[in-house]
Symmetry: C2
Subunit: 222 residues, 2 copies
Protein backbone atom coordinates (compact mmCIF):
# COMPACT_ATOMS: atom_id res chain seq x y z
CA UNK A 1 0.00 0.00 0.00
CA UNK A 2 1.05 3.59 -0.62
CA UNK A 3 2.38 5.15 2.60
CA UNK A 4 0.65 8.15 4.13
CA UNK A 5 1.77 11.67 3.33
CA UNK A 6 4.49 13.12 5.57
CA UNK A 7 3.76 16.84 5.42
CA UNK A 8 4.72 19.64 7.79
CA UNK A 9 1.57 18.83 9.77
CA UNK A 10 2.13 15.10 10.01
CA UNK A 11 5.89 15.04 10.58
CA UNK A 12 6.41 13.54 14.01
CA UNK A 13 8.60 15.86 16.01
CA UNK A 14 8.39 14.21 19.40
CA UNK A 15 9.56 10.59 19.85
CA UNK A 16 9.55 9.89 16.09
CA UNK A 17 10.41 6.25 16.74
CA UNK A 18 6.85 5.81 18.00
CA UNK A 19 5.43 7.07 14.71
CA UNK A 20 4.82 5.71 11.25
CA UNK A 21 3.15 6.43 7.95
CA UNK A 22 2.05 2.84 7.50
CA UNK A 23 -1.35 2.80 5.85
CA UNK A 24 -2.19 -0.77 6.91
CA UNK A 25 -1.41 0.07 10.55
CA UNK A 26 -3.70 3.09 10.30
CA UNK A 27 -6.53 1.00 8.88
CA UNK A 28 -6.24 -1.52 11.72
CA UNK A 29 -6.53 1.24 14.33
CA UNK A 30 -9.44 2.93 12.56
CA UNK A 31 -11.26 -0.39 12.15
CA UNK A 32 -10.89 -1.28 15.83
CA UNK A 33 -11.81 2.02 17.50
CA UNK A 34 -15.40 3.19 17.91
CA UNK A 35 -15.25 6.98 18.10
CA UNK A 36 -13.04 9.73 16.76
CA UNK A 37 -12.41 13.26 18.01
CA UNK A 38 -12.96 15.93 15.35
CA UNK A 39 -11.11 19.22 15.78
CA UNK A 40 -11.90 22.40 13.88
CA UNK A 41 -11.93 26.16 14.37
CA UNK A 42 -15.38 27.14 15.57
CA UNK A 43 -16.05 30.87 15.79
CA UNK A 44 -12.41 31.67 16.46
CA UNK A 45 -11.41 29.04 18.95
CA UNK A 46 -10.69 25.34 18.58
CA UNK A 47 -13.51 22.86 19.15
CA UNK A 48 -13.07 19.10 19.67
CA UNK A 49 -16.17 16.91 19.39
CA UNK A 50 -16.41 13.11 19.76
CA UNK A 51 -18.40 11.27 17.13
CA UNK A 52 -18.86 7.88 15.47
CA UNK A 53 -17.34 7.19 12.08
CA UNK A 54 -16.82 4.55 9.43
CA UNK A 55 -14.18 3.74 6.85
CA UNK A 56 -14.60 2.89 3.20
CA UNK A 57 -11.26 2.12 1.59
CA UNK A 58 -9.11 5.23 1.88
CA UNK A 59 -11.96 7.46 3.04
CA UNK A 60 -13.11 8.27 6.57
CA UNK A 61 -16.88 8.83 6.82
CA UNK A 62 -18.64 11.05 9.35
CA UNK A 63 -22.34 11.64 9.77
CA UNK A 64 -24.66 13.66 11.92
CA UNK A 65 -27.66 15.89 11.98
CA UNK A 66 -27.84 18.37 9.10
CA UNK A 67 -28.94 20.83 11.81
CA UNK A 68 -25.86 20.29 14.01
CA UNK A 69 -23.11 22.83 14.49
CA UNK A 70 -20.15 20.49 14.21
CA UNK A 71 -20.84 18.88 10.86
CA UNK A 72 -22.22 22.09 9.35
CA UNK A 73 -18.95 23.86 10.17
CA UNK A 74 -16.80 20.99 8.94
CA UNK A 75 -18.92 20.71 5.79
CA UNK A 76 -17.86 24.26 4.93
CA UNK A 77 -14.50 22.96 3.76
CA UNK A 78 -12.46 24.17 6.73
CA UNK A 79 -9.31 22.40 7.88
CA UNK A 80 -10.05 19.57 10.25
CA UNK A 81 -7.98 17.24 12.37
CA UNK A 82 -9.54 13.88 13.21
CA UNK A 83 -7.86 11.82 15.93
CA UNK A 84 -8.60 8.21 16.90
CA UNK A 85 -7.05 6.73 20.05
CA UNK A 86 -7.02 3.22 21.50
CA UNK A 87 -5.76 2.81 25.07
CA UNK A 88 -4.10 -0.61 25.34
CA UNK A 89 -2.69 -0.56 28.83
CA UNK A 90 -1.05 1.25 31.70
CA UNK A 91 2.73 1.19 31.97
CA UNK A 92 3.97 1.14 35.56
CA UNK A 93 7.62 2.04 35.94
CA UNK A 94 9.87 2.17 39.01
CA UNK A 95 10.00 5.96 38.85
CA UNK A 96 7.04 8.32 38.54
CA UNK A 97 8.74 9.96 35.56
CA UNK A 98 8.77 6.84 33.37
CA UNK A 99 5.12 5.90 33.83
CA UNK A 100 3.30 5.80 30.52
CA UNK A 101 0.28 4.54 28.64
CA UNK A 102 0.39 1.97 25.87
CA UNK A 103 -1.75 3.27 23.04
CA UNK A 104 -2.30 3.36 19.31
CA UNK A 105 -3.45 6.58 17.68
CA UNK A 106 -4.09 8.05 14.26
CA UNK A 107 -4.07 11.77 13.48
CA UNK A 108 -5.63 12.78 10.15
CA UNK A 109 -5.54 16.24 8.57
CA UNK A 110 -7.56 17.50 5.64
CA UNK A 111 -10.79 19.07 4.45
CA UNK A 112 -13.94 17.04 4.31
CA UNK A 113 -16.26 16.96 1.33
CA UNK A 114 -20.03 16.65 1.57
CA UNK A 115 -21.51 13.42 0.23
CA UNK A 116 -24.81 14.62 -1.14
CA UNK A 117 -26.15 12.02 -3.53
CA UNK A 118 -28.66 9.59 -2.02
CA UNK A 119 -26.74 6.47 -3.04
CA UNK A 120 -23.45 7.80 -1.66
CA UNK A 121 -25.14 8.77 1.59
CA UNK A 122 -26.81 5.39 1.92
CA UNK A 123 -23.48 3.60 1.32
CA UNK A 124 -21.76 5.82 3.91
CA UNK A 125 -24.43 5.20 6.54
CA UNK A 126 -24.12 1.50 5.86
CA UNK A 127 -20.33 1.71 6.33
CA UNK A 128 -20.72 3.62 9.61
CA UNK A 129 -23.36 1.20 10.96
CA UNK A 130 -21.31 -1.84 9.94
CA UNK A 131 -18.21 -0.26 11.51
CA UNK A 132 -19.94 -0.08 14.89
CA UNK A 133 -21.87 -3.37 14.72
CA UNK A 134 -20.75 -5.61 11.84
CA UNK A 135 -23.73 -7.56 10.49
CA UNK A 136 -26.33 -5.07 11.66
CA UNK A 137 -27.32 -3.35 8.41
CA UNK A 138 -29.09 -6.34 6.88
CA UNK A 139 -31.39 -6.68 9.91
CA UNK A 140 -32.75 -3.17 10.28
CA UNK A 141 -35.01 -0.81 8.41
CA UNK A 142 -32.92 1.22 5.96
CA UNK A 143 -33.08 5.01 6.02
CA UNK A 144 -35.98 6.50 4.05
CA UNK A 145 -35.70 9.65 1.96
CA UNK A 146 -36.57 12.04 4.80
CA UNK A 147 -33.98 10.47 7.10
CA UNK A 148 -31.31 10.69 4.41
CA UNK A 149 -32.20 14.35 3.92
CA UNK A 150 -31.88 15.06 7.66
CA UNK A 151 -28.42 13.45 7.74
CA UNK A 152 -25.25 15.22 6.71
CA UNK A 153 -22.52 12.87 5.50
CA UNK A 154 -18.88 13.96 5.16
CA UNK A 155 -15.93 12.18 3.57
CA UNK A 156 -12.32 12.83 4.54
CA UNK A 157 -9.44 11.40 2.50
CA UNK A 158 -7.09 9.18 4.52
CA UNK A 159 -4.01 10.74 2.97
CA UNK A 160 -2.32 13.30 5.20
CA UNK A 161 -2.09 11.27 8.37
CA UNK A 162 0.25 9.63 10.82
CA UNK A 163 0.18 6.75 13.28
CA UNK A 164 1.72 6.81 16.72
CA UNK A 165 1.94 3.89 19.12
CA UNK A 166 3.56 2.81 22.35
CA UNK A 167 3.68 -0.81 23.45
CA UNK A 168 5.69 -3.03 25.73
CA UNK A 169 7.20 -2.74 29.19
CA UNK A 170 8.35 0.34 31.09
CA UNK A 171 11.77 1.74 30.27
CA UNK A 172 13.39 2.72 33.55
CA UNK A 173 16.65 4.43 34.32
CA UNK A 174 19.32 1.79 34.80
CA UNK A 175 19.87 2.63 38.48
CA UNK A 176 16.17 2.14 39.28
CA UNK A 177 15.96 -1.53 38.18
CA UNK A 178 17.15 -2.72 41.59
CA UNK A 179 14.14 -1.14 43.33
CA UNK A 180 11.83 -3.69 44.94
CA UNK A 181 8.68 -2.21 43.44
CA UNK A 182 6.32 -3.97 41.05
CA UNK A 183 6.70 -2.75 37.46
CA UNK A 184 5.09 -3.87 34.26
CA UNK A 185 2.01 -3.42 32.13
CA UNK A 186 -1.64 -3.57 33.12
CA UNK A 187 -3.43 -4.33 29.85
CA UNK A 188 -6.90 -2.81 29.40
CA UNK A 189 -9.57 -4.16 27.10
CA UNK A 190 -12.95 -2.80 26.05
CA UNK A 191 -15.29 -5.74 26.59
CA UNK A 192 -19.00 -6.19 25.93
CA UNK A 193 -21.27 -6.98 28.84
CA UNK A 194 -24.61 -8.84 28.72
CA UNK A 195 -26.93 -7.26 26.12
CA UNK A 196 -29.89 -5.32 27.59
CA UNK A 197 -33.04 -6.00 25.57
CA UNK A 198 -35.32 -3.07 24.83
CA UNK A 199 -38.50 -3.12 26.94
CA UNK A 200 -40.68 -3.13 23.83
CA UNK A 201 -38.93 -5.96 22.03
CA UNK A 202 -41.24 -8.24 20.03
CA UNK A 203 -41.78 -11.35 22.18
CA UNK A 204 -39.38 -14.19 21.44
CA UNK A 205 -36.70 -12.20 19.61
CA UNK A 206 -33.23 -13.21 20.81
CA UNK A 207 -29.96 -11.27 20.41
CA UNK A 208 -28.32 -12.20 17.07
CA UNK A 209 -24.83 -13.77 16.97
CA UNK A 210 -23.18 -10.44 16.11
CA UNK A 211 -24.50 -9.10 19.43
CA UNK A 212 -23.95 -12.20 21.56
CA UNK A 213 -20.36 -12.66 20.31
CA UNK A 214 -19.53 -9.00 19.78
CA UNK A 215 -15.84 -8.35 19.29
CA UNK A 216 -13.88 -5.52 17.69
CA UNK A 217 -11.52 -6.60 14.89
CA UNK A 218 -7.84 -6.73 15.83
CA UNK A 219 -6.03 -7.11 19.14
CA UNK A 220 -8.53 -9.28 20.99
CA UNK A 221 -9.96 -6.06 22.38
CA UNK A 222 -13.77 -5.82 22.47
CA UNK B 1 -21.26 23.37 43.71
CA UNK B 2 -21.22 26.34 41.36
CA UNK B 3 -22.45 25.31 37.90
CA UNK B 4 -20.16 25.57 34.89
CA UNK B 5 -20.16 28.65 32.70
CA UNK B 6 -22.62 28.68 29.80
CA UNK B 7 -20.90 30.89 27.26
CA UNK B 8 -21.33 31.16 23.50
CA UNK B 9 -18.80 28.34 23.16
CA UNK B 10 -20.39 25.98 25.66
CA UNK B 11 -24.06 26.59 24.85
CA UNK B 12 -25.40 23.29 23.59
CA UNK B 13 -27.12 23.88 20.28
CA UNK B 14 -27.80 20.30 19.26
CA UNK B 15 -29.97 18.05 21.48
CA UNK B 16 -29.66 20.37 24.50
CA UNK B 17 -31.59 17.86 26.62
CA UNK B 18 -28.47 15.68 26.54
CA UNK B 19 -26.35 18.47 28.00
CA UNK B 20 -25.71 20.00 31.38
CA UNK B 21 -23.49 22.41 33.26
CA UNK B 22 -23.38 20.19 36.35
CA UNK B 23 -19.94 20.44 37.90
CA UNK B 24 -20.26 17.21 39.91
CA UNK B 25 -21.23 15.29 36.77
CA UNK B 26 -18.18 16.71 35.00
CA UNK B 27 -15.88 15.67 37.84
CA UNK B 28 -17.21 12.10 37.74
CA UNK B 29 -16.50 11.82 34.02
CA UNK B 30 -13.04 13.37 34.33
CA UNK B 31 -12.17 11.09 37.25
CA UNK B 32 -13.24 7.95 35.40
CA UNK B 33 -11.65 8.52 31.98
CA UNK B 34 -7.95 7.96 31.29
CA UNK B 35 -7.08 10.22 28.37
CA UNK B 36 -8.26 13.53 26.98
CA UNK B 37 -8.04 14.99 23.48
CA UNK B 38 -6.44 18.44 23.37
CA UNK B 39 -7.36 20.68 20.44
CA UNK B 40 -5.49 23.82 19.48
CA UNK B 41 -4.49 25.81 16.41
CA UNK B 42 -1.09 24.59 15.31
CA UNK B 43 0.55 26.57 12.54
CA UNK B 44 -2.77 27.60 11.06
CA UNK B 45 -4.74 24.39 11.17
CA UNK B 46 -6.42 22.55 14.02
CA UNK B 47 -4.47 19.81 15.81
CA UNK B 48 -5.99 17.21 18.16
CA UNK B 49 -3.62 15.20 20.36
CA UNK B 50 -4.49 12.51 22.91
CA UNK B 51 -2.77 12.72 26.28
CA UNK B 52 -3.06 11.70 29.92
CA UNK B 53 -4.28 14.18 32.51
CA UNK B 54 -5.16 14.62 36.15
CA UNK B 55 -7.57 16.74 38.14
CA UNK B 56 -6.94 18.76 41.27
CA UNK B 57 -10.15 20.40 42.48
CA UNK B 58 -11.37 22.71 39.74
CA UNK B 59 -8.18 22.45 37.68
CA UNK B 60 -7.30 20.06 34.88
CA UNK B 61 -3.61 19.18 34.76
CA UNK B 62 -1.63 18.22 31.66
CA UNK B 63 2.01 17.26 31.41
CA UNK B 64 4.51 16.32 28.79
CA UNK B 65 7.98 16.82 27.49
CA UNK B 66 9.18 20.40 27.62
CA UNK B 67 10.57 19.67 24.15
CA UNK B 68 7.22 18.57 22.68
CA UNK B 69 5.25 20.58 20.16
CA UNK B 70 1.82 20.15 21.69
CA UNK B 71 2.45 21.40 25.20
CA UNK B 72 4.83 24.12 24.03
CA UNK B 73 2.10 25.53 21.78
CA UNK B 74 -0.59 25.20 24.44
CA UNK B 75 1.74 26.77 27.02
CA UNK B 76 1.82 29.88 24.86
CA UNK B 77 -1.59 30.87 26.18
CA UNK B 78 -3.57 30.02 23.06
CA UNK B 79 -7.20 28.94 23.18
CA UNK B 80 -7.58 25.23 23.75
CA UNK B 81 -10.46 22.80 23.78
CA UNK B 82 -10.00 19.67 25.87
CA UNK B 83 -12.51 16.86 25.36
CA UNK B 84 -12.92 13.70 27.44
CA UNK B 85 -15.20 10.90 26.24
CA UNK B 86 -16.39 7.66 27.83
CA UNK B 87 -18.15 5.15 25.57
CA UNK B 88 -20.70 3.27 27.70
CA UNK B 89 -22.48 1.13 25.14
CA UNK B 90 -23.88 0.61 21.68
CA UNK B 91 -27.53 1.41 21.07
CA UNK B 92 -29.17 -0.91 18.56
CA UNK B 93 -32.46 0.39 17.19
CA UNK B 94 -34.94 -1.17 14.76
CA UNK B 95 -33.99 1.35 12.07
CA UNK B 96 -30.47 2.23 10.92
CA UNK B 97 -31.30 5.91 11.51
CA UNK B 98 -31.91 5.56 15.24
CA UNK B 99 -28.75 3.65 16.08
CA UNK B 100 -26.62 5.50 18.58
CA UNK B 101 -23.87 5.26 21.16
CA UNK B 102 -24.34 5.73 24.90
CA UNK B 103 -21.59 8.02 26.09
CA UNK B 104 -20.57 10.67 28.60
CA UNK B 105 -18.38 13.54 27.47
CA UNK B 106 -16.94 16.79 28.77
CA UNK B 107 -15.82 19.68 26.55
CA UNK B 108 -13.66 22.31 28.24
CA UNK B 109 -12.56 25.64 26.76
CA UNK B 110 -9.93 28.00 28.05
CA UNK B 111 -6.29 28.98 28.10
CA UNK B 112 -3.82 26.95 30.08
CA UNK B 113 -1.25 28.44 32.41
CA UNK B 114 2.22 27.02 32.95
CA UNK B 115 2.91 25.58 36.39
CA UNK B 116 6.55 26.43 36.83
CA UNK B 117 7.41 26.20 40.50
CA UNK B 118 8.95 22.88 41.59
CA UNK B 119 6.37 22.20 44.31
CA UNK B 120 3.44 22.93 42.01
CA UNK B 121 4.91 20.67 39.32
CA UNK B 122 5.54 17.88 41.79
CA UNK B 123 1.95 18.13 43.09
CA UNK B 124 0.60 18.09 39.53
CA UNK B 125 2.64 15.04 38.55
CA UNK B 126 1.41 13.31 41.67
CA UNK B 127 -2.21 14.16 40.74
CA UNK B 128 -1.72 12.82 37.20
CA UNK B 129 -0.03 9.62 38.39
CA UNK B 130 -2.71 9.04 41.03
CA UNK B 131 -5.41 9.73 38.45
CA UNK B 132 -4.15 6.89 36.27
CA UNK B 133 -3.19 4.42 39.03
CA UNK B 134 -4.54 5.44 42.45
CA UNK B 135 -2.06 4.41 45.15
CA UNK B 136 0.97 4.39 42.87
CA UNK B 137 2.81 7.56 43.91
CA UNK B 138 3.86 6.31 47.36
CA UNK B 139 5.57 3.24 45.84
CA UNK B 140 7.79 4.80 43.20
CA UNK B 141 10.82 7.02 42.99
CA UNK B 142 9.71 10.64 42.90
CA UNK B 143 10.91 12.92 40.10
CA UNK B 144 14.31 14.48 40.69
CA UNK B 145 15.17 18.05 39.75
CA UNK B 146 16.30 17.22 36.22
CA UNK B 147 13.11 15.27 35.51
CA UNK B 148 10.97 18.12 36.81
CA UNK B 149 12.88 20.50 34.57
CA UNK B 150 12.31 18.30 31.51
CA UNK B 151 8.56 18.19 32.19
CA UNK B 152 6.15 20.93 31.20
CA UNK B 153 3.05 21.10 33.39
CA UNK B 154 -0.06 23.03 32.37
CA UNK B 155 -3.17 23.89 34.37
CA UNK B 156 -6.56 24.59 32.79
CA UNK B 157 -9.44 26.00 34.85
CA UNK B 158 -12.55 23.80 34.83
CA UNK B 159 -14.85 26.74 34.36
CA UNK B 160 -16.03 27.17 30.77
CA UNK B 161 -17.21 23.65 30.10
CA UNK B 162 -20.22 21.49 29.37
CA UNK B 163 -21.25 17.88 29.84
CA UNK B 164 -23.12 15.80 27.29
CA UNK B 165 -24.44 12.29 27.81
CA UNK B 166 -26.69 9.71 26.22
CA UNK B 167 -27.95 6.69 28.12
CA UNK B 168 -30.76 4.20 27.95
CA UNK B 169 -32.54 2.23 25.25
CA UNK B 170 -33.00 3.09 21.57
CA UNK B 171 -35.80 5.48 20.67
CA UNK B 172 -37.46 4.13 17.56
CA UNK B 173 -40.19 5.53 15.37
CA UNK B 174 -43.55 4.28 16.66
CA UNK B 175 -44.28 2.26 13.52
CA UNK B 176 -40.98 0.36 13.81
CA UNK B 177 -41.67 -1.19 17.23
CA UNK B 178 -43.56 -4.11 15.66
CA UNK B 179 -40.47 -5.24 13.72
CA UNK B 180 -39.16 -8.63 14.81
CA UNK B 181 -35.56 -7.47 15.13
CA UNK B 182 -33.51 -7.45 18.32
CA UNK B 183 -33.07 -3.99 19.80
CA UNK B 184 -31.48 -2.75 22.96
CA UNK B 185 -28.15 -1.77 24.42
CA UNK B 186 -24.84 -3.59 24.33
CA UNK B 187 -22.92 -2.15 27.31
CA UNK B 188 -19.15 -1.83 26.94
CA UNK B 189 -16.69 -1.71 29.82
CA UNK B 190 -12.97 -1.05 29.92
CA UNK B 191 -11.61 -3.90 32.03
CA UNK B 192 -8.12 -4.74 33.26
CA UNK B 193 -6.54 -7.99 32.16
CA UNK B 194 -3.86 -9.97 34.00
CA UNK B 195 -0.87 -7.74 34.86
CA UNK B 196 2.29 -8.42 32.83
CA UNK B 197 5.36 -8.24 35.06
CA UNK B 198 8.44 -6.51 33.70
CA UNK B 199 11.18 -8.96 32.72
CA UNK B 200 13.65 -7.27 35.05
CA UNK B 201 11.42 -7.24 38.13
CA UNK B 202 13.25 -7.84 41.41
CA UNK B 203 12.63 -11.50 42.32
CA UNK B 204 9.66 -12.08 44.59
CA UNK B 205 7.90 -8.74 44.04
CA UNK B 206 4.15 -9.31 43.56
CA UNK B 207 1.63 -6.89 41.99
CA UNK B 208 0.23 -4.58 44.71
CA UNK B 209 -3.53 -4.51 45.49
CA UNK B 210 -4.07 -1.34 43.42
CA UNK B 211 -2.86 -3.31 40.37
CA UNK B 212 -4.52 -6.66 41.15
CA UNK B 213 -7.90 -5.04 41.89
CA UNK B 214 -7.61 -2.13 39.47
CA UNK B 215 -10.90 -0.35 38.83
CA UNK B 216 -11.78 3.11 37.63
CA UNK B 217 -13.98 5.14 39.98
CA UNK B 218 -17.66 5.39 38.99
CA UNK B 219 -19.92 3.24 36.88
CA UNK B 220 -18.33 -0.17 37.52
CA UNK B 221 -16.27 0.46 34.40
CA UNK B 222 -12.52 -0.11 34.83
Amino acid sequence: MVPLAATARTTLKRLPKRGSYDRAAMYRILDEALVCHVGFAGEGSPVVIPTAYGRSGDTLLLHGSAAGRMLRTVAGGVDVCVTVTLVDGLVLARSAFHHSINYRSVVIFGRARVVDDAEGKRAALRAITEHIVPGRWADVREPHAQELKATLVLALALEEASVKTRSGPPLDDEEDYTRAVWAGELPLRVLPQAPVADARLVVGVEPPPYVRAYRRPGSGSV
